[in-house]
């Protein structure tokens, strides 16, 4: 039986399309209107709301909760003070990424961890013998993302505390007389916030947000818009950019944090004393420089793209839809050899280019390296010229600007 989120009752009234996908067993709108691009522009130009409630949520409390996370998560939780949050990964012993999530530190001994997939048993096993209370609170909360340049202005009308939040900071606040967590987090690469709301109060909080958004161009956005936003923002998606290492069939499906473009999370790991799952393998990878791939942005040569299509008598397509399958990347030499693969691909309206997220051989990762991307024109395999670029491809200063 498919489930619905705590916001569904109201958001479904705003959905004129009845077009949903399934996200971890929940109904999740692909789009609310006939124009997902308009929903996309709400986030890039005004403000959009997205129901991200299907995320799994785990509460960790008790004296050893920090110790558990120190040992479980790839990124050092000791660098996360109460009131802060971290985007993080967790790996297996082989140093391959299992999953990602955001951990919110509410106090010295209190955390909330979100994850895209269920993870209770994995953390519970690691918690054996530790004084940690680990609880699956996934169904207790709805999470509403409020994203875009007007998000602060809209939320400030409900909870002035929001104005003081720096990037990846959070605070408790009262919205529509409900106790919520307000965090400056999101999955759009723009300035934005998320409200973690007790499920019973979800509709009241949503109504307050919708009302506060009037006159600010606020609109709900669905997964189609989200995919374009997150690709522009260089944010990876599980089962698209990588496969949970514990569920993968071969190492070719697996990636290490460095290969995923998250090498920055390993700051202090080679020389540090923190023991965590995968550490030895990750140290080895760093020492031996054995990473197989580097994650890069791809920017397609617009002239070549247009020419390929026009010469075939077609209108050059500029559609913002994610790639249904991976496409191969070749080096620029004639008859090039495969040097990587692209995991996500879309047309970016703000960048006016086709862009992608890709993994290439580390020696070809330097920004500006010319590559050829596999594509199909008129039922025929061909390649289009592209170059590598630093991620994120879209990174407005407002995203991280201090208030």
């Amino acid at each position: 039986m498919i489930r619905t989120t705590p916001f569904h009752e109201r958001l479904s009234e705003l959905n004129t399309q009845g077009l949903y996908t399934h996200w971890q067993g929940f109904l999740s709108p692909l789009r609310y209107t006939h124009a997902p691009k308009h929903e996309y522009f709400a986030v890039r130009n005004s403000v959009g709301v997205f129901d991200t409630s299907p995320l799994f949520k785990y509460r960790l409390t008790g004296p050893d909760s920090s110790r558990l996370l120190e040992g479980a998560l790839t990124r050092d939780i000791r660098r996360c003070a109460p009131g802060q949050a971290q985007y993080t990964l967790w790996c297996d012993d082989g140093g391959f990424v299992m999953e990602d999530g955001v951990v919110f530190r509410h106090g010295e001994e209190e955390f909330l961890l979100t994850a895209a997939r269920p993870n209770l048993a994995w953390f519970a096993d690691l918690a054996q013998g530790l004084a940690v209370d680990l609880e699956d609170v996934s169904d207790d909360f709805g999470v509403l993302a409020v994203q875009g340049p007007r998000s602060r202005q809209v939320l400030e009308a409900l909870a002035p505390e929001v104005g003081a939040l720096g990037y990846f900071e959070h605070t408790s606040a009262k919205v529509a007389s409900s106790a919520v967590t307000l965090s400056r987090t999101g999955y759009t690469g723009d300035v934005g916030y998320e409200l973690t709301v007790p499920a019973a109060d979800a509709l009241d909080v949503l109504d307050a947000v919708l009302e506060a958004g009037q006159g600010h161009g606020l609109r709900p956005f669905g997964e189609e818009a989200l995919m374009v936003l997150r690709i522009e923002a260089g944010l990876p998606l599980i089962d698209v950019e990588w496969t949970n290492s514990r569920l993968a069939w071969s190492d070719a499906e697996r990636v290490t944090p460095t290969e995923l473009g998250m090498g920055w999370m390993l700051r202090g790991v080679p020389e540090g004393d923190r023991a965590f799952v995968g550490r030895d393998a990750l140290r080895r990878e760093a020492e031996q420089r054995s990473s197989r791939w580097t994650t890069v942005g791809i920017v397609v040569d617009w002239q070549h793209w247009d020419r390929l299509h026009r010469e075939a008598g077609l209108l050059p397509a500029k559609e913002a839809h994610p790639l249904p399958y991976e496409s191969a990347l070749y080096d620029a030499a004639a008859g090039g050899t495969q040097v990587g693969y692209m995991t996500s691909f879309t047309y970016s309206p703000v960048l006016q280019r086709h862009i992608g997220l890709a993994r290439v051989r580390p020696d070809l990762a330097q920004a500006g390296t010319e590559l050829h991307v596999e594509t199909v024109v008129n039922h025929t395999n061909t390649t289009v010229r592209a170059h590598t670029a630093r991620l994120p491809l879209f990174n407005p200063p407002r995203k991280t600007a201090r208030p």
Binding site: T16, T33, H34, A35, P36, K37, H38, F41, R44, N45, S46, R150, Q214, G215, H216, G217, W302, Q303, D306, G313, L315, P316, A317, K318, E319, Y347, P349, V350, L351, Q352
Partner: protein
Amino acid sequence: MTDTPTGSSDRRGADGAAAYDAIVVGGGHNGLINAAYLAKEGLRTLVLERNPLVGGAAITEECLPGFSFTTFSYALSLLRPEIIHELDLVRHGFMPLMMPSSFHPTGDGDYLLLGDDHDQNVQEVRRHSRRDADAYSRYHHDLDRVVQAVRPLFDSAPPDVFGSDGTAGAGFGPDLEWVRKHLGGVERRVMHDVVRLLTGSASDWLEDYFEHPAVAGYHASSSIIGSKVGPMSPGSGLVLLFHKMGEHDGHLGSWAFHKGGNGGFTQVLARAAQAFGAEVRLEAPVTAVLTAAGRVTGVALEDGTELRAPVVVSALDPRRTFLELVDPREMPGEVVDDVRRMKFRGVSAKVNFALDGLPTFPALPDTVDHFGGFLNIGPTVEYVERAFDAAKYGWYSERPFIDAAVQSVVDPDMAPPGKHVMSCFVQYAPYQLRGSDWDTERQRFGDTAQAVLEEHFPGFGDLVLHREVVTPVDIEARTGLTEGNIFAGEFLAPQMYLFRPSPAASRYATPLAGYYQCGSGTHPGGCVIGSPGRFAAQRVLHDLRRDP
């Protein structure tokens, strides 16, 4: 909008006058694009703009605190993608906000609301006529085929068919053989459609597809924009085709509001031009192009300043370019004659509103989304044709056609929260009134437009906080567009392509050495396309390489 900072110091030449490699007269979008390309190639380039802000007819002004008006030009579609990339406009803030919908009241209380989903559009058309449902798909496909057929000509300089360039222009742009080869490759049926559109009326073309008057009326609206034609006039097909040439994000004929209005767009252009090193000087009206020994030597400003440059590019319309900036006696009589008889009859006005709230369309009382794009007030072909009637006899429509847009719905930065700006493009409003003048008629004309809005959106008048009426005379006075013609020369077949603005000067050069033209009065023409500016820069650079 903030003004573009002007360049600081003059570059002094040996004789003490400021020396540039190129001076562009007029800081409209084509002037700025032209200057950006020239500066990008290393030319010391100066843009001289008469007004206190750049943009020409593409400006955004705050008429009432917090309300941003697109005084004249109000939407974007035809801008060529090459320009976005070659001038790196994204880096300078280029941001076209796609219009999610197009709304057409059918005059009987019902409406046609079209959006981004083709299948839903087909159902919406089918609601009015079952027969028109599949015609809708065929119509767009056939029109798209025509667009694809003419696009290569649209996107390149006209060839020198009449030998007017002599040898100077040899090698610039494609030659006649290329044109012949391209046209030879176009399918027979598509070529027939090309000719039907270029010479016929929009209503003749439309009646092959649509039976429902409002469905045809919706599609006819783009056939008259800015032009002294009705949808039943031969020639309106060309105007319809022209407005389909846009290719916003790969969608033919789709439209967007630029962030901050079209003035936001020209500010982006100014930043790009300046980033390439061009200097932009505001409030610097040029009175004359200076010549010596049959060559351009510079320009004279109204305040008497003379600025030197071997290349002067006029971004003004052909009348100003050939008859005012230079002494017509310096030009061959043929060109002067062509420009004198070129038609510039402006028939469009703007009525811009600041609104206290969103208007209400009674059949859609609780939704906003029908305000996401153009509101097309001209229910049927007949309605629009009748609106045209008055213009033939020197008067404005008593029930005008209105292309309205509530831009603040898509771009909330255009108005305070909960308030709105509404741009109304109103037709017909002939430049020359018979038996009266626009100073006398301005407010009555505004009332006429407002009454039509009131008809479709009851209670509209109560929402009006501020109204600005911009007549063709105002357009001419403020932007310099002759007779207020928004295209800098009408879209008539004998004024396009090889003949724009004159068969003797259609390749951006002029008979006066060093003097060039880059305004919308050159191919491919008006609207915010940018190609005239780009092609003219290519021509200047071509000539400099030939004859440095």
